[in-house]
């Protein structure tokens, strides 16, 4: 039981760091596409050293928590996984856009920079509701 709680605590810590990094990354990409080269450099460094390892830790600890708690047959977990996959995908796409900005490739600024932030916030809210309330 203690192992399970420690795993869960590590998972929640990794999730919090990953989500914070994801918001910073989205703002860094938006700023970089409008010429903010110093922001791109700072966000890229944080992304590679902190956010990416946190994302991998989220998946590793999350899979151990699900296996230890025998949660895999639960429907809420699969609904939650949909949003986690989406957030990981957004992170990969934004990491690619940061890479283009570092190479000084032209990256077209998004017409709706707010939409990415709203999508991340909505996914995080859905994940929290599913993981805590376990509605189905």
């Amino acid at each position: 039981m203690i192992d399970y709680l420690w795993l869960k605590a590590a998972h929640v810590a990794a999730v919090l760091i990953f989500i914070g990094g994801l918001f910073a990354q989205a703002i860094g990409v938006a700023a970089g596409a409008r010429g903010g080269t110093e922001t791109v450099s700072l966000v890229s460094r944080w992304d590679e050293r902190v956010t990416l390892p946190a994302m991998l830790a989220v998946w590793l600890t999350g899979a151990f928590v699900a296996a230890t708690g025998a949660w895999f047959p639960s429907h809420w977990l699969w609904a939650k996984l949909f949003f986690v996959v989406a957030l990981s995908g957004i992170h990969g796409v934004q990491a690619g856009r940061l890479r283009r900005l570092r190479r000084s490739d032209e990256v077209k600024p998004s017409a709706f920079p707010f939409a990415v932030l709203v999508a991340i916030a909505a996914s995080v809210a859905a994940i929290a509701l599913l993981a805590v309330a376990k509605p189905f």
């Binding site: 990416l52 994302m55 991998l56 998946w59 590793l60 899979a63 151990f64 699900a66 296996a67 230890t68 990981s88 995908g89 992170h91 990969g92 796409v93 990491a95 690619g96 856009r97 890479r99 283009r100 570092r102 190479r103 000084s104 490739d105």
Partner: protein
């Protein structure tokens, strides 16, 4: 000779892909050839409980690298990217990537000299 940022970035991504691809395929091999037989033949489920999550995380790491290669530009043809994407969904596809990624790394290194 000093490498440009773009060359450095390209080489770093190819190396990440090589490692992620190898680890993804290797963990699947261990899962299927060692952990699953241990569970079904000897009733030892601990191996699958460990290797399942490890392979899951390795798969995500590989898929993440492929997404970065697709969205990040660089010296990748459409055919090479398609091959990397398909390899994610074919068992042991990571081993099939070894030759392509080795050639890409050699070409990226040669381009720097």
């Amino acid at each position: 000779m000093a490498m440009s940022i773009a060359e450095n970035e390209e080489l770093a991504l190819i190396r990440k892909l090589r490692v992620a691809s190898f680890v993804e395929a290797s963990t699947l091999l261990i899962l299927l050839m060692i952990a699953v037989p241990l569970k079904h033949a000897l009733g030892y489920a601990g191996a699958t409980r460990i290797m399942g999550p490890v392979h899951g995380a390795a798969f995500i790491a590989y898929a993440w690298c492929v997404i970065v290669a697709v969205s990040g530009g660089g010296d990748w043809s459409r055919r090479e990217l398609t091959r990397l994407i398909l390899a994610a969904f074919i068992p042991f596809g990571g081993f099939a990537n070894a030759g392509l990624l080795r050639r890409k790394e050699a070409a990226a290194q040669a381009g720097q000299q």
